[in-house]
Amino acid sequence: MDSIAERLADKQKEISVGEFFERNKHILGFDSLTKALVTAVKEGVDNSLDSCEEAGILPDIKVVIREVDDEEYRVSVEDNGPGIPKRKIPDVFGKLLYGSRFHEIRQSRGQQGIGVSAVVMYGQLTTGKPTLVRSKVKEKDYAQEMKITLDTKKNEPDVLSKEVVLWEDKEHGTLFETTIRGLLRSGKHSVFEYLKNTAIVNPHARITYVRNGDTTVFKRATDQLPGKTKAVKPHIEGIELGTFAKMAKNSDRRKLVSFLVNDFSRISYNTARDICEEAGIEEEMKPRDLDVESCKKLLKATKNVKIMAPKTDCLSPIKSMLIKKGLKNVLKGYRPEFYAPPITRDPEVASGNPFQVEVGLVYGGDLPSDGPVRVLRFANRVPLMYKKGGCATTTAIQQIDWRIYGLDQKGGSGMPRGPVIILIHVASTRVPFTSEAKEAIADIPVIVDEIERGLRECARELRTHLNKKEKRKKVSKKFMIVKDILPMIAEKSASIVGKETPSLDKVMTNIMGVVYIDKKMEWNNGAAEGIIEIMNYTSKEREMSLFIEKPYPETELLDSSREPEHDGDYIEWKLEKLKPSKTSKIKFKFSNLDKEDIDGTDVFIDGVNETHLIGAEPLPDDWGVELADIHEED
């Protein structure tokens, strides 16, 4: 006779993955009609970006959305990626949880979604229509085109039709087109916002968005592809019991020690033996014979054995320069007055997974100044659009007293207010999300701390900027006194007392008390022309040296109204005996300079105390130290 347990077990029916997700659409990101469209686009775009990068191709992605019926949209995503071989197409689009990246440990976008097959399933469930896929690999002259649905019971693809087509003007790439129920909205949670934010952190991508016939193009801001990410073995510190047990079960290693040494990162032979000893488990036993209890003991033992932290070179941060380019590229319409140099923190480790935080901050211009600051959140270069409140990024922002950095903030906590956009990017081999929906980063203290440090670095730059601005404002007020008001006071008082208008040189220098440097650069016939004016509004005769750094090594000084003292990586001019209230001018011309970089050159001055200097920086102590030996590591 069957045992009761066996009889009960017979009654339990297997629920397929497909059926499970069909009942739990929210896990896939289809919990509202508006979100459904964003998710559909996101799955497609994430895949496209990942595959382009893996193949070393600069992504060119086109997203088209057209309303075909009430609450029904046709969505297509087309890329110039390497394409998908014919035999793999059905699985990629018609099978849930299928994918090259799913079992790997590396920084990728793909880990954040369930995959494009979920979009296929959602489309078929809500409109009954199949998804059209077209893909072409470089080696072939033609493209494959298929219509696919998903058998939710078996979690297997159903290919409804297969065709070979010509894809003109396309060397390689993939296009999928699906029809889904949804709602196209604008605003914070829109497809537009998602693509815009994607463009910011993926400045190497060109993204075209066609919405009911209206086209927006996010142009490529750099030709530099992100560094390739490396797949790494898991670090034992962050592994879950179930995963560990599964790895042991599937391992071909004959001994437990070699399993620990070879299937995990950063465990040496000696360390492995220490772990076994600490756990009280025979190091020679076969890993596949480990029971759950033993697995538990082993994992517990790792806590008491010193294990090297995981390697962090598997991450690919965006890096300061490209974050700035990305922000500038997308936000230039706001004409922000200040971009804090973006911060890329050193990698750190959270529960066995390396992670790296990057922060950028943009201030002023036409950004709205009356509301809370805007936050752009990213995990592995993918915008996080929902659940802002429960995100580590928000926690980090709110625990800073922004008032000391010059922003408004009620009571010194909560969201600061002002014309600011903050960008936060967390890259990791495994981003710890708060839930399966993968919309917010969990409040893990070491991650929150890193974000906070990055924010503070940017915030300090903001404060410096605001202080400088304040100083300039004061000086411009003084200029107004000296240039507009004082001459009138002199004229009026002279006319009332009936005497000659007095000379104002001395009074002017008394009021200003600074050496004022004004640098203007203009673009003229492919060369940058600059004028530096030096005005001595102090009561002393001044001698000084002016320095400017060449923006690029190939930049050349074409012309200079004053013979430079030095012309190399930097240019130095010497100025002798500038009398009080006198002005001197230097005109020069640069070649080989990008138009957009002409404002980037700062003027440095040696010989004038910082407190008497406006419009230029004092010469840094390390000026002229050769930096040739320091290279950025890829």
Binding site: K477, K478, M480, I481, D484, I485, L486, M488, I489, A490, K492, S493, A494, S495, I496, V497, K499, P502, L504, D505, K506, V507, N510, I511
Partner: protein, 363 residues
Amino acid sequence: MKERHKNALRELEDIAEDIYDQLIEGNIPNMRIPTRTKNNIEFDDHQGVWKYGKSKSTRSAKKLKGARMILRTLYMLEFIRDMIGEDKSSTLREMYYISESWEKGKFNRQSESNRLAEDMEIVTDCLREDFKLRPEEDGARVIGDITVEEKNRKGEIRNINCRDDVGDSGYTIPYNVEEDKIKFTDTNVDFLIAIETGGMFDRLVENGFDEQANCLLVHLKGQPARSTRRMIKRLNEEEGIPVVVFTDGDPWSFRIFSSVAYGAIKSAHLSEYLATPGAEYIGITASDIMNYDLPTDKLTKTDRKALRQELEDPRFDTQFWRDEIETMLEIDKKAEQQALAKYGLDYVTDVYLPEKLEEAGLM
């Protein structure tokens, strides 16, 4: 040119001379004037009024604001010099509009130009009338048995009895109430009541209180104009008429009283001309609100702030005012003088004022 204008001109030119000399020496021009805040008013024992103390503020061209003020001063000075030369005069408001053409020296608000005109009075020790400037507001009304001799526009002398020769709205105080314009030829009143609101003034007129109590009714029209205060001062000083002030019961009314009796902070340089030291307060007090059980309003935030400021104001540093202000803050209520109508239209003239005046020893 009259002597007073000649003198004013000399004083004004001294200011310009001073600025010019500073420029010639290469110094940043500045002007020093008495600080015009409540922290810099002192009681003048001799005259019994509050005047500016010794503390001075510097207006320096080192700061944009100061530079602008100096330029404005010079423009205003030139404007006054031209008016005196051409024997013209202008209202303060006209001068404000004329400043539109003063470029960097133009004013943003009339209160700024009014204030600078006061500054000039202080620095030169002249009156704005010496500068040919006059206020645009018309004077307040007066009813009661006094006779004034006023020189009209044509230079003719008219005798006007302020009870019999006028309508219900009374005699209007002109902006110039100095000897050369107005003389008091006959005064048959026992005292003078200065009344804050027009409503109450009309009530007392309708009830015939001027005859009933043999007094002169003067309408203050809120914060009283200089000419109203000067008129009250002259009647008190020259004719020996006691003065009482009848106002609402709130912090702003207390300030109205203090500007009549002690001198206003804004015009403390003129206190000896404008303030009537013996004036007594018979307006609504916090005690009245309780004793007469008057209808009230709750104090607003600004009311409470004003009351607390008054507690730090040296002019209110007496037992009576401290008690009344603190009580008002405590009960958190204020009342209008017309709230007395709760007991009927005649209550104010039949009960309230007789009681108050008896306390003051005037009835």
